[in-house]
């Protein structure tokens, strides 16, 4: 992490200046140069720290404060309610559902997205013709706006006009209301539909990262494994997986955080519905703070979300010791 750069006048040992005050006085130019460097350094990081303080650190602290209050953006006074918002969060039945939805979405999207990305990368990791074309096609969902892509998928999922149901009808399967409120068994499709969309959106991105990781694995290792008589699976287990694990871990952490922050696709595809079937924590926060103007409650949800992501990331780092191998 830290860089020990050989910066500044190397020839001037620090002890010299400390030992003899005379030496310090003898070189006033160097001292003032040093102070000037300090000032420049602070000036250079000043814009970053002002922005961090105003738009990141202060909001975090302010959210903590707001979480203890009741407010609607409008009234002149905020009412201090102690832990009432948090008590409400953890006793509301709806929050349990929100938590479950968040976990469902996160696990589904991360697992399928990483698995798909890994498989595609393994397929592409050879001298293959048309690599740039495959790669471009697979990466393209990631650069399109989630909103625009979701509008296309809204139509793909459409009950009456959508291509999914049109294909299913060829096999005599009835119409599934993918993202709407179906009945009985057909009711459960909303979250899987959002997950499928999100996997589609991210799988190419994961693939490009995995491919970058795969190309750094030296081919000699595979040759050595082959001489030992290893088959494809054994080679994957003993060479690819361990050497790819730092990249897998990186993608694992980044995609988990990404799923906890996902909003756009929920807003366009389902608006948290049908009922509360796709209401995740971010959407719950949005609704409470910006639709119901329950600022205190929304902020408390935000703090819970923040704590959850923090704990989860720490957990992932702790668990990574057992399966991530840094070369």
């Amino acid at each position: 992490m830290t860089i020990r750069s050989n910066h500044g006048p190397v020839s001037r040992p620090g002890t010299d200046a400390k030992a003899s005050p005379a030496g310090q006085r003898r070189a006033p130019a160097l001292g003032s140069q040093r102070i000037r460097d300090w000032i420049t350094g602070y000036l250079f990081i000043l814009p970053a720290f002002i922005s961090l303080a105003v738009w990141w650190l202060y909001p975090l602290v302010y959210s903590v404060y707001l979480g203890f209050t009741e407010w609607d953006f409008m009234s002149p006074q905020k009412k201090w309610v102690w832990l009432e918002n948090y008590v409400k969060i953890f006793t509301h039945r709806e929050f349990r559902r929100v938590l479950w939805n968040t976990a469902y979405f996160s696990v589904g999207t991360v697992v399928l997205g990483l698995l798909g990305g890994l498989i595609l990368a393994l397929l592409l990791n050879r001298k293959i013709r048309g690599l740039p074309i495959y790669r471009a096609l697979m990466f393209s969902p990631w650069i399109t706006p989630t909103v625009a892509a979701a509008l296309v998928w809204l139509w793909i999922y459409n009950r009456d006009m959508g291509i999914f149901n049109a294909i299913l009808s060829l096999f005599g399967v009835g119409r599934i209301d993918w993202i709407g409120s179906g009945q009985g068994l057909f009711r459960m499709w909303a979250m899987p539909s959002v997950i499928i969309f999100s996997v589609w959106k991210t799988v190419g991105y994961n693939m490009v990262y995995f491919l970058a990781g795969l190309t750094t694995i030296p081919t000699e290792l595979y040759e050595a494994a082959e001489i030992d008589g290893a088959g494809s699976w054994a080679k994957f287990r003993s060479v690819t997986w361990p050497l790819l694990s730092p990249m897998t871990f990186f993608l694992f952490v980044v995609s988990t955080i990404g799923t906890f922050n996902a909003f756009d696709q929920f807003r366009v595809l389902t608006r948290g519905g049908p009922g509360d079937a796709t209401r995740t924590m971010v959407y719950y926060l949005y609704q409470n703070a910006f639709e119901f103007f329950d600022v205190g409650y929304g902020s408390a949800v935000a703090i819970v979300l923040f704590t959850l992501i923090l704990l989860l990331t720490l957990l992932q780092f702790r668990a990574s010791r057992s399966w991530v191998h840094y070369g």
Binding site: S5, G41, Y42, P59, Y62, S140, I143, P145, T146, I303
Partner: protein, 296 residues
């Protein structure tokens, strides 16, 4: 190796078997790749072909791949139905450009200070920057909204751009990039009497071009596509960004998806600039992934 040599015939057979095996696996790989990339690209294909169909054709022939007659007039029709579309596009471009330039300047200055200037507290301050990476941006939205309201910045470009002025990830990324520049180059520039600003602009930045280009591209795409923050703070039609404009168009002019051909035309028009950028800069996307991923 010696045993290898002794069994030449056996190894020849083995090699031939391996070659056919690799040929089969190569063909299988191509088949799998073709199917999966077609599946992934399918929504784009569907969007573009539906954007060029008449409403009647689109409703009547659900499996038709290519429109019988290309209805280029759909694009004119959607443009006339939503005259503000050009405005939305400009707004998104201003937001993306504004945020990117601001983040670039702020992050370059900070990253330079963290790599090349010694000052007390440098390590701790960098740690503070990195730890803000743990704050999900959603958590900052309510307070940031309140700040904007107090500053009377709601529904303005300032409100869209300035809260995103700093990217902790950018500082982290640039610090990684800058610290790989050989120190001798700094010393040489210093002997020439270059100050820190000149050192940054004439030594460090030109040598860090790949990482800068990557950051710019990812930032432009990210903020051009952003939706949540503009949704919260803009309200007047003139301040809508493209993503908001698309959803409004879907609801108001597409009648919740009755005029799909126009909605698809609008979508295609919105995505087009990104596709162009991607085609031009594909190399940078891929290289960027390699640099950001492996170092992150």
């Amino acid at each position: 190796m010696a045993t290898h040599m002794a069994k030449t015939q056996a190894s020849k057979n083995a090699r031939r078997a391996r070659r056919t095996k690799s040929l089969v696996s190569r063909i299988l790989a191509h088949v799998a790749l073709t199917i999966s990339s077609l599946l992934i690209a399918f929504p784009f294909f569907w969007m573009i072909t539906r954007a060029l169909m008449s409403a009647e054709e689109l409703n009547a022939y659900r499996f038709r791949l290519i429109p019988q007659v290309m209805q280029w007039s759909n694009f004119r029709e959607f443009w006339e139905a939503e005259p503000l579309f050009g405005r939305y596009f400009v707004n998104s471009a201003i937001m993306a450009a504004g945020v990117t330039v601001l983040q670039l300047v702020v992050a370059c200055l900070a990253a330079y200070a963290f790599t090349s200037i010694k000052f007390p507290g440098r390590g701790i301050l960098f740690f503070v920057v990195i730890s803000t990476l743990m704050i999900p941006v959603v958590v900052t939205y309510v307070p940031s909204y309140i700040i904007l309201a107090r500053l009377k910045w709601l529904d303005t470009f300032k409100g869209l751009i300035i809260p995103s002025a700093v990217s902790a990830f950018g500082i982290f990324l640039f610090r990684q990039g800058f610290s790989s520049i050989p120190r001798e180059l700094f010393d040489a520039a210093k002997i020439d009497g270059a100050g820190h600003l000149r050192m940054l602009s004439q030594v460090v930045l030109p040598l860090s071009k790949p990482i800068l280009v990557t950051f710019i591209i990812f930032d432009v795409v990210g903020y051009y596509n952003s939706y949540f923050w503009p949704l919260l703070i803009t309200s007047s039609p003139n301040m809508r960004v493209l993503t908001i404009g698309l959803t409004i168009f879907f609801i108001e002019k597409g009648y919740y998806g009755i005029r799909w051909h126009l909605i698809m035309a609008a979508n295609a028009a919105a995505i087009l600039p990104l596709i162009l950028l991607f085609v031009i800069a594909q190399r940078w996307f891929v290289e960027g992934v390699a640099t950001t991923g492996l170092k992150g």
